[in-house]
Assembly symmetry: C2
Homo-oligomer: 249 residues x 2
């Protein structure tokens, strides 16, 4: 037994949903690695995307210090969730411990990550194909969510992943599914983002989907809509489509 | 000789000034430490202040994971500089490698840090005196500045410190000096912040000074005005006062 007062709360579905939303709607994150020469931790800013299973993805120059550090020790930590107005510590943020896996070019995985990253960060087109730029999948091992003062939660790596047998199907067919949904329900992006504080009047668009939800953007803002539960079968996908068609004009 | 193209530029005074300004005007930073149990780097958000010599200062709970990590290995890394609109990587940011030194209570140093931290973060009054909260001075060892794409610079720890024999004098008399300056030149805060993009109409106030410049705030925005060179003598202090009185109405 530990007699110290624990600042941790029991991790519930609301905490998991907040953590996933923070990670999946991040444009950028602070990434920490261990510097091989000095042993110091080293933190820098990276653009982030996600793979179809929710794993964070970074695109980095092989000339950069953080990439050299990852080649030596692939343990990394990401901080996602930007503070808005008022006290920076009152805003939720997520720290994720990950193992960084380099992604070889000329693979299906590279092609998928490239397409998803470009949809999220169109300006990366300028350098995404440079010979010295490389993708890493950052596979979550554990995480801690700070939802604001006194609201701390511990999560597992799997809490942040989308464990669905339909991941590959949706990776291939997600664009078609979204196009179909929008044809039937043109107001879908506006409906999905109606809880975005003070951002309701923006021109939101769905730029990607996966088995757990939709990724939306409006100018340089990103948002995330999470389904009630991940789609785990063709039946789940059909139900989601039917539900949206029945409730969204 | 290294035949690889170096992404580093020669560190000049403009780079040092940008680095100091980023660090000294930060409200919060991402701080990375090494987790003692797993060896993983771990990054989280902290409020930051500065000591009179420019060293970053944090106030953290001894119950938090980062504080336990620092007790085991006091090597830390701070990322300062928030992205604004547009591409997050086009905005300058600074990574600083530091050694974290705990600050004992009931010392002059603790009293000084407490006063400076409260001036920057008034809401910390709610917990600054809690028994389980502790200050650390983060003493800079080295740093890297990324001023935007292709603009990378290496800095020394001393580049970020204010090495002046007048530090202690200004720590004691800074408030009086500022009061004197404002009585003679009421528009001083507005003049010092006239280059703050799109923030010119805010109600800026000087809340602290040190031998290298003034700290300014307006609601939850911070700004930094750096002197041309640090004040290193009583003569320098008098010259600064005379210059402001002669140029600012």
């Amino acid at each position: 037994m530990n007699d110290k007062p624990s600042p941790l709360r029991e991790t519930d579905e609301a905490a998991r949903r907040l953590a996933r939303t923070l990670l999946r709607s991040a444009r950028h994150a602070a990434m920490a690695v261990v510097d091989p020469a000095s042993g110091f931790p080293s933190v820098s800013r990276v653009l982030v995307g996600t793979d179809i299973d929710g794993a964070p993805v970074i695109l980095v120059s092989t000339l950069s210090a953080h990439t050299r550090a990852l080649a030596n020790d692939n343990r990394a930590s990401l901080l996602a969730g930007e503070p808005g107005k008022g006290d920076p510590l009152a805003h939720p943020r997520l720290s994720v411990q990950c193992l960084a896996k380099p992604v070889a070019r000329d693979t299906d995985l590279h092609q998928r990550l490239r397409e998803r990253f470009l949809a999220r960060h169109p300006k990366s087109k300028l350098y995404i194909d440079f010979a010295d730029f490389q993708f890493f999948r950052l596979e979550p091992q554990s995480a801690s969510l700070n939802g604001g003062f006194g609201r701390a939660y511990v999560l597992s790596g799997d809490d942040l992943l989308i464990l669905s047998p339909e991941n590959e199907y949706i990776a291939v067919n997600g664009k078609l599914i979204v196009r179909h949904l929008l044809a039937a329900s043109p107001s879908l992006p506006a409906t999905l983002t109606q809880n975005e504080t003070a951002l309701q009047k923006r021109n939101w668009a769905i730029y990607a989907m996966d088995a757990a939800g939709f990724d939306l953007k409006s100018a340089d803002k990103l948002a995330r809509y999470e389904f009630d539960a991940p789609l785990k079968s063709q039946g789940d996908i059909r139900l989601m489509i039917t539900k949206i068609a029945g409730t969204v004009p």
